[in-house]
Every structure is written in structure tokens, then in C-alpha cells.
Amino acid sequence: MDTKKIMECEHQRLKKYENMSLPAQYKKIGIAVTIISFIGLFVLGYIDNEPEILRDLIKKSILVGLLIISISKDSIEDELTIKLRGKSYAMAFVFGVVYALVQPYITYFLSFLFNKKNNEDFLELGDFQLLFFMLIIQIMFYWMLKKYR
């Protein structure tokens, strides 16, 4: 097969992932999913002996809701909003890495501060918190960059 054709084929395949986004209407769905999931998590706090899987599912639905908000287009999407969106993802990535590096020390400090004998509550800060943090940072930075453009 011709090298140029192979490269063109690969280029076309990659182009599909460049504009990975949802229509603007999905933003409302994302907000609804996130809010409902938060309410569910809040209600779960008052229920005794709830199955662990339910808590995990609600946490994942929070992440899904935030992801939908994150990748939904604006009502008017132009080159400036695309550029700002890229910047917000870059910032979220950097802040996420820094948070992952610093977080164990914060965990230790908090467990020391609250004198927790059982540190499981603070040690349970895994992938959910990091992903939640990164998504919130991205959404927040994107909103701020748009506001002050």
C-alpha cells in the first residue's frame, strides 16, 4: 500500500478524535445528572447499611455528569472558545498532577488534625477525588477564561 495513503488514512482516523464533543443541549443533561447524583450521595449518608456498590455507582455518575458538562459545546462555538477550552484542559491536567503529588501530605495532616484513629476515611481519597478535582478545575477555569476573554 502507498505510504501516502497509509498516512492519509491515519490522519483521517485521528481527526475523528480531535472534535470529540457533545451538542450544547447535553450540558443541561450533565448538570441534571450531577445534581441528582449529589443529592443521592447526600441521602445515602443517612441510610444505614447501604450496599457499597450503590455509593460507587453514584460517585461514577457524578463523574459522568461532570464529563458531559466538560465536553458539551457552547451554544456558539468558535475558534476562541476552542482555544480557551484547550487551555482549561491543560490547566486541569497540571493542577491534577500537582494535587496528586501533594494530596498524601494533606491526607496525613488532616488525619493528624482530626486525631482519627481509623484513618480509612482520609485514605479513601483515590481516583474519584482526583478525577472530580480535575473536572471541576477544568469547568471552573473554562468559565473564568470565557468571562475574562
Binding site: I76, D78, E79, L80, K83, K146, R149
Partner: protein, 66 residues
């Protein structure tokens, strides 16, 4: 880079919103370009040129520190 988009807009009696709709961007993007906060792409500059009916060099100027 400096630009005289506001002047060109005034010549054609267009609001920022009118100009934004003509070239397919948001009003805030036009505002950012006019305030030199955002440098548009070549495509957008050429679209502006098409609306204003003047060359790109007539309303975009390089500054000494560019």
C-alpha cells in the same frame, strides 16, 4: 498587533453582534479581537477582510515588539 476593526465596523454601521453573525463567531470574540486580547486565525482574518472589503493588512498592523 493592533487593529482597526472598530473603525471598519463603524464605516459599515455594524454592531459587534452583526459582525459576529456575519463571520460565524460570538460577539465576545469580536470584542476580544478589538481589544487586542485575542489574535484571530488566518481564516477569521480573511473572513473579516471579505466583510469589510479591504485587505487584511489595512486593518491589522504589526507592532515593533511582535
Amino acid at each position: 498587533m493592533r487593529n482597526t476593526i472598530k473603525v471598519q465596523r463603524a464605516i459599515l454601521d455594524l454592531t459587534q453582534d452583526d459582525l459576529a453573525k456575519k463571520i460565524g463567531v460570538s460577539r465576545q470574540t469580536i470584542n476580544s479581537i478589538e481589544k487586542n486580547r485575542y489574535v484571530p486565525s488566518t481564516l477569521l482574518a480573511l473572513k473579516l477582510s471579505g466583510v469589510f472589503k479591504v485587505p487584511v493588512n489595512d486593518f491589522f498592523t504589526l507592532e515593533s515588539d511582535d
